[in-house]
């Protein structure tokens, strides 16, 4: 097998004073969709922040396309073709949709190429075209999420890091966003690492997944394998048998096997 596009080895990182990531190792293969699942506070976002250079890992190595990522500033990481769409979208509220998108292409000075990319974005997200000259703050949550993804895509990333793209979106919008993520991966071969609490959706589009608990990986495997594990079904997909009383609140112990 070829070298993974991104390889993390024994990465430890702090979230404030807390050691949120306690040594994780993971591989992301070129052109794949990998998902990182975990409950609140499991350390998912910190992993993404460590990769994109927003937080400095205490320990471990991170190699992206043959380059060591350690010590690189976030902008240098972007320069390598690794784009991070943070949780909560973070679009520039007072800029228009077009300006937001063009900012995503700021590293490429080629106007023709930027125009071509813009056109491509309109195909993915027709709604953005309708609102091209509106300030981003007037967009709905789903539209802002689309804008944030589109803005990242304008940089023609090799690897796209998505932090909870479904957060706060209606089920219909969640479906749309995930369909687009799958399409981006299929069309341009963009490798995607998506962090999600919506395990159901994430496992639907991903080909491989890791489960993070308390800063450690407790399970990994092909998406279908994970979707079939009893622990994932009960704790992440919300499926469980209902016992003798037809309902129960207690949770059995997680075993991760």
């Amino acid at each position: 097998m070829s070298e993974p596009l991104l390889a993390l080895r024994n990465v430890e990182a702090y979230y404030g004073p807390i050691l949120a990531v306690q040594g994780i190792s993971l591989d992301i293969r070129e052109a794949g969709i990998v998902t990182l699942l975990g409950a609140n506070g499991a350390g998912k976002s910190t992993v993404l922040k460590a990769i994109s250079g927003i937080v400095e890992p205490q320990k471990g190595t991170m190699v992206f396309a043959g380059r060591d990522l350690r010590g690189l500033e976030p902008d240098a990481v972007v320069g390598l073709g690794l784009l991070h769409v943070p949780e909560g979208r973070e679009v520039f509220p007072f800029l228009t949709v077009r300006e937001n998108l063009l900012l995503g292409a700021y590293r490429h000075r080629d106007r023709d190429r930027a125009q071509a990319d813009l056109d491509r974005m309109y195909r993915y997200f027709p709604v953005l075209r309708e609102r091209l000259d509106q300030a981003a703050l007037n967009l709905s949550g789903g539209e802002q999420q689309m804008l944030a993804i589109a803005r990242a895509l304008m940089a023609r990333p090799q690897l796209l890091l998505l932090d909870e793209p479904s957060l706060g979106l209606s089920p219909r919008l969640v479906g749309e966003i995930f369909a687009i993520i799958r399409r981006i991966n299929a069309d341009a071969g963009t490798t995607i690492l998506v962090v999600e609490q919506n395990a159901h959706k994430a496992l639907e589009i991903a080909d491989y997944g890791y489960v993070l608990e308390n800063g450690r990986i407790v399970m990994e495997g092909a998406a279908q394998y994970l979707a079939d594990r009893p622990d994932i079904r009960e704790f992440y997909l919300g499926m469980r048998d209902h016992g003798a009383r037809g309902a129960h609140r207690w949770k059995r112990k997680k075993l991760w096997r």
């Binding site: 190792s25 407790v218 075993l255």
Partner: protein, 617 residues
């Protein structure tokens, strides 16, 4: 660190009288102690005290409710819960109502739970919460004799109603509403309990065949309480932490039964995961734990030191070597040089004290280990740390302790001498046999097995032992676990296993070799410490199984095994080993309630893995 034992034992209050019963002793204890604190539980982050009078009142209400429902003398009640005050109340309500109380391990499966309820023909079962209730309800069709289920904690059950299920609060209200007539009937019934009546059933884990309920009488338990008050005194100023399963005789005796006589305060751990934290909060004065816990604490301390600066590591090493030297000098009988006394004193005040504090053991007068074999090295380490560790030996069938060191006479590697008033001898095969008032009444409804276990008053323990010239007993191993190698030599697997477990990287191990050409081992890694080792050495892994698969980890364990092999003769050396790559929990059948791997279950479950160690490479 000479400790004054008498200060704690002197004010023993309720004297265990030979003609007394647990029922009458409990009522006397409540009457005498009133507002004094009996136990504490943590409630929304705060430790809340429960006085003896509250304890007694709850017991009274539950007992009256039981009787109003038609619970008769000698009827059985089961308790399916983690350690909590309600557990105590349910047991003593049952006992004072003349009944027989039976604990069920909270980690039991629904099937195992149903087995115990049926085997002892319980009419009532007390369950902790929704989760435990579901176990019983799931098996209800197979529990024809069960009449009521009393639930301690109704969280999540507000909408639920069932004619058989009643909340403890409602049950208590029912008890409180009973008139004076029933109350006096209850008191009369408690007084009518005879010492020879069965008080509790303790189900033994039963490695062969289904579990058996050992019948322990009031006089068995009273004798234990009386003997232990002489050799291992505990008093009302002592603080205990209750966290090992109450269904096991050791915890039952120490935290539930003995405090009736000695008035020690029982603190309940919030749950099994918070024990280290609760230990630091409570800082108990006496503490009992099984070897697994002691091994864990030892690993934690050594790993924490390893993480420190070079200076800290050196200081730790020096402190321990001073402690070892002082103990060696004392053991040699000579005088301890002044410089050593002073240096050790300084080390004890600083490094050793800090380590004790880290573990929550800075106030202990002494600690006890038992219920499973332990490596002498581990005891030596705790003694050097300044924690006075006593190794006791006992069985369910002796209502707890059978032997322990007489005060002031500790001999490492032995379990001391028979309890005063009891006898221990060895059979021709070296099997330990015990006689005395603590020997149980037999197994519930299993007369044949009872007759085979107690012959002419002598309990056949199934353990192999040695008794030295001064009468100190050393337990070698379980008779059926002794491995006879192809060379014809007898090997005690637990001795080798204990040495392996002493390593901070090995949490448990099973030595195999019966009817095999050489010895091998299945090893369970200590996940936390190995994960930390992997992090420190940049060994990538994702989860437990992948960690076990790493060549570096195999090598690490191989080094530990080689080090242990160096301490044994050739026939006792482990030729090869395998790692168990599944993270086992207490709910797995492989574990005994005292957190020991079950040889037979492990052997069966991992047969294929074992066979790979005996096939040509």
């Amino acid at each position: 660190m000479a400790q004054d034992w008498s200060a704690f034992g002197a004010d023993l209050e309720i004297v265990p009288a030979p003609d007394g019963t647990i029922a009458s002793a409990f009522l006397a204890a409540v009457a005498r102690r009133g507002e004094r604190i009996a136990m504490r539980r943590k409630d929304r982050g705060l430790w809340r005290a429960i006085a003896w009078c509250e304890y007694g009142e709850t017991v009274r209400r539950i007992a009256l409710a039981l009787m109003s429902k038609g619970f008769s003398a000698r009827d059985r009640a089961c308790i399916l819960a983690d350690n909590c005050p309600e557990w105590f109340c349910a047991e003593l309500a049952t006992i004072t109502a003349g009944g027989v109380s039976t604990g069920i391990y909270a980690t039991n499966s629904p099937e195992q739970t149903a087995y115990v309820i049926n085997d002892c023909q319980a009419r009532v079962v007390f369950v902790e919460n929704e989760e435990q209730l579901d176990k019983v309800l799931q098996m209800r069709a197979e529990l024809p004799g069960l009449e009521w289920i009393v639930v301690f904690d109704m969280d999540g059950l507000a909408e639920f109603s069932d004619p058989m299920v009643i909340s403890l609060a409602e049950f208590e209200r029912l008890g409180a509403a009973q008139g004076a007539a029933l109350e006096s009937e209850w008191r009369a019934r408690a007084a009518a309990v005879r010492p020879e009546d069965t008080a509790i059933l303790i189900y033994t884990s039963g490695t062969t065949g289904p579990p058996k309920g050992a019948m322990l009488s009031h006089s068995n338990l009273i004798f234990q309480a009386a003997s232990l008050n002489i050799v291992m005194p505990i008093g009302p100023r002592d603080e205990l932490l209750s966290f090992l399963p109450l269904s096991h005789i050791a915890e039952r005796l120490i935290s539930l039964l003995r405090p009736i006589f000695n008035g020690a305060v029982v603190n309940f751990a919030e749950n099994p995961d918070t024990v280290p934290q609760n230990l630091r909060e409570i800082s108990p004065t006496v503490f009992f734990a099984v070897p697994r816990i002691w091994e864990k604490f030892h690993s934690r301390a050594t790993i924490a030191v390893h993480d420190g600066t070079g200076l800290e590591r050196a200081a730790f090493r020096i402190a321990f070597s001073l402690a070892f030297r002082r103990r060696a000098a004392e053991a040699g009988g000579g005088t301890v040089p002044l410089w050593l006394r002073m240096a050790h004193w300084a080390a004890d005040r600083t490094i050793l004290h800090r380590t004790r504090k880290l573990l929550g053991l800075e106030q202990v007068r002494y600690v006890t280990t038992g219920a499973a074999p332990i490596a002498p090295e581990l005891i030596r380490w705790y003694l050097a740390l300044g924690v006075r560790m006593i190794q006791a030996y006992g069985l369910t069938e002796t209502a707890g302790v059978a032997s322990l060191p007489p005060p002031g006479q500790h001999r490492l590697g032995t379990v001391g001498k028979a309890l005063p008033g009891t006898e221990i001898r060895l059979s021709a095969q070296g099997e330990i046999e015990i006689r005395g008032p603590h020997v149980f009444q037999g197994y519930w409804c299993k007369p044949e097995q009872s007759r085979a276990t107690v012959v002419d008053g002598w309990l056949h323990t199934g353990d192999i032992g040695e008794i030295d010239d001064d009468g100190f007993l050393r337990v070698v191993d379980r008779l059926k676990d002794i491995i006879i190698t192809s060379g014809g030599k007898n090997v005690s697997p637990s001795e080798i296993e204990n040495q392996l477990k002493f390593s901070p990287f090995i949490s448990d191990a099973i030595v195999i070799g019966e009817a095999r050409p050489y010895l091998t081992a299945l090893v369970m890694i200590d996940y936390d410490n190995i994960a930390k080792y992997a992090q420190d050495h940049a060994i990538p892994f994702t989860n437990y199984a992948s960690l076990c698969a790493r060549e570096e980890i195999r090598k690490l364990i191989a080094d530990e095994v080689a080090a242990v092999n160096g301490r044994f003769a050739r026939v006792e050396q482990i030729k090869t080993f395998r790692l168990i790559d599944v993270q086992l929990t207490t709910e797995d059948e492989e574990f005994t309630p005292t957190l020991k791997l079950k040889r037979s279950v492990v052997g069966k479950r991992h047969k294929a893995l074992i066979d790979t160690m005996y096939t040509a490479p």
